[in-house]
């Protein structure tokens, strides 16, 4: 496993694409979070609302860049033919995929940590200027607050899980554009569809099984009993998606010719 990990780390480190995508993830996440927290207004009748969740809204954009990175880790090799070299050097295909998954999850978690902390700092600095003050029931965001810490750690894990989901899908599909279409479709379509569905039971069900709508429940810090799914259970759903995608990708990788 160690040589495989070393090989994957070298591949990721020595081209500029991944670095730019990780920097892009951080920039996009923080930019959207800061943008959202700088435009909200506290209504005169009282604010309410979950400011931790709003401060982490950028994860919804940042994950798109994580998806590109994760898909290219494997689909990029297919498009250039590099995959044949990789598999010739490392004939144990499960090891190759596992090494890719570990390396990818590591770098995404590292970038995700910077992105999430940056977003929270932006929220902490910007929100008091928009009347979200302690006096009105919104103390400044802080990692010392249990639910906020859980939301922050969970968001980092969420980004890593999205990377693994994308890796699994791309291993199965082998084409980068199609893989990205499938993953972004899974992520973004479920919340849109669930808004449109009239029947509350169906809506709840969709929000419970969608990889993004369930996983981002980890960001909620207020009114948790009313959520369609609990924070950790929701992240568990995303983990289930990632595991299923990796398993399917792994099986197909072993079965098929490269």
């Amino acid at each position: 496993m160690r040589p495989a990990l070393h090989a994957e780390w070298t591949k990721l480190r020595t081209v500029t694409g991944p670095l730019w995508l990780l920097l892009g993830t951080v920039a996009a996440t923080v930019a959207l979070s800061a943008g959202a927290t700088s435009v909200v207004r506290c209504a005169s009748t009282g604010c309410g609302g979950d400011m931790t969740k709003l401060s982490l809204i950028g994860v919804q954009l940042g994950q798109a860049l994580v998806v590109i990175l994760a898909v290219l880790v494997i689909a990029g090799e297919y498009s250039t033919g590099m995959i044949r070299t990789t598999l010739a050097a490392m004939p144990r295909r499960a090891t190759v995929l596992a090494a890719k998954a570990v390396t990818l999850a590591g770098v995404v978690a590292a970038a995700g940590t910077i992105a999430v902390l940056g977003s929270l700092v932006a929220g902490r600095l910007l929100l008091p200027g928009h009347a979200f003050t302690t006096a009105r029931g919104h103390p400044a965001l802080s990692l010392a607050d249990g639910p906020t810490l859980r939301a922050a750690v969970g968001s980092i894990l969420y980004l890593a899980l999205i990377a693994l989901l994308s890796l699994g899908v791309a291993t199965a599909v082998r084409d980068s554009a199609t893989s990205i279409g499938i993953v972004l479709g899974l992520l973004y379509l479920v919340p849109i569809l669930s808004q449109m569905i009239g029947d509350p039971r169906w809506r709840r069900l969709l929000q419970q099984i969608g990889p993004m709508s369930a996983g981002l429940a980890i960001q909620a810090t207020t009114d948790i009993p009313s959520l369609p799914i609990g924070p950790w259970a929701g992240l568990g759903v995303t983990a289930g998606w990632a595991a299923a995608a990796l398993l399917a990708g792994g099986l197909l990788l072993r079965r098929r010719d490269a």
């Binding site: 959207l32 909200v40 009748t45 689909a75 199609t178 990205i180 972004l184 569809l193 569905i197 009239g198």
Partner: protein, 497 residues
Amino acid sequence: MTATLAHVVHAEWTKFRTVRGWVIGMVVAALMPVLFALLVGVSSDQKGSPPVPIGPGGEPVTDSFYFVHRPLTGNGSITVSVSALRSSIPKRPGDLRPGVVPWAKAGIVIKESTRQGSPYAAIMVTGSHGVRMQDSYVNDTAGLPGPVSAASVRWLRLDRSGEVITGYASAGGTRWTKVGTVRVRGLGPTAQGGLFVASPPSVDGMGTRGSVSTAVFGDLRIRGRWAGGNWTGDQVGAESPTFSGYPRGTSGSFTGAGSDGSFTVTGAGDMAPAVRDTLPTGGTLGEILTGTFAALIVVIVVGALFITTEYRKNLIHVTLAAGPGRSRVLAAKAMVLGGVTFVAGFAGALVAVPLGERLARANGVYIFPVASSTELRVELGIAALLATASVLALAVGTVFRHSAGAVTTVIVAIVLPYILIAIPFMPASVSDWLARVTPGAAFAVQQTLVPYHQVTSNYTPYYGYYPLAPWAGFAVLAGYAVASLAAAALLLRRRDA
């Protein structure tokens, strides 16, 4: 031999139709709206819910208010003074606080019957829009401005002559100003006339809170053939999908002191056209066409691949050698891709809309009514949106020469604004801005709802009210596509393939 545009188009068409994945993609793009329309249709069940009240013009209306009335046969008139209109909004359930409800209404109304949706004409004082005369739910005429209080009492009068009702207002009860004259079709020989109080929900952030209002009336005088006996107090439209009910711990009521003609009336509800907020169970064509988002992702993938595959397989050298006019190759690709996507998208929408409408209605779901010309516009608009999005993906793919970045950029640019618009606490100004400047503006082609100035509501894209007119919104996306195509053509000419 120079290749004419027709030749290049033919060559590109041959490429497109012989790649099985792209053809399957287009079939899937056509099927997605149909599939989602089925899903949205079968998953909604409102059988047995009370019917949506329909106004004389065929539009859904809110017709729920507290009515202190008597029958009036033939011609007659009614005059009253209003010396107070106070509204309360709950801060939390059960915790009422005094508040301003701009369109809280207290006044006099002559109405065909107490049936919801029946025709009427009314004159009233409002929370912060002065005296108004309104009829048939959608019409609204301004009268005396300024709020009502004990120091500035407002006098109101309605004269009925057949189907013609004239409203007057006065600040002192002596000098009257005519506010308006309307013909109320279908008023019938015997109508119901009297005092009313309505109090629409107060808009708060992205949501609404039910409100309740109380008015103090005095000097009630009636002339003409009014039935004898006492005034009857009724809640019109107590059970209605367009009425969210009274705040907890309150109810509609009236007390009359008798001899001096003074009354205190408490009521909630509204007499107005229904909007998305007040009819949350209603469906729109945009919801039936949710599958557009899925189709969008498919056509963006195909659009990007239509050019990036050539780079990956090095076919681009052959393509550009065969047709050296590089812009012409790009134009041919855009024409073939846009044409095929338009046909697929239009076919999908053409089947999805009637199918979704039928399924929803069979399940008791009310669909906001649209003219058939509007329905066609929505279907054509969705097809044009998909075609333009695929051409945008083609152009961005040409610039990036790599499908991953192109697909993600275009999907995020079109779909993400839509998701951001749905964030609670996003001010209307920001979601309006998102729906004006991002490529997601094109979703305005789905718009079928009309905002009303006399109904305070969340007129935001999230609720189906777009800041741009349908084709103006589409033009924003088209602008991005044209600009990207121009950049792509320039880079294609400048760069080595």
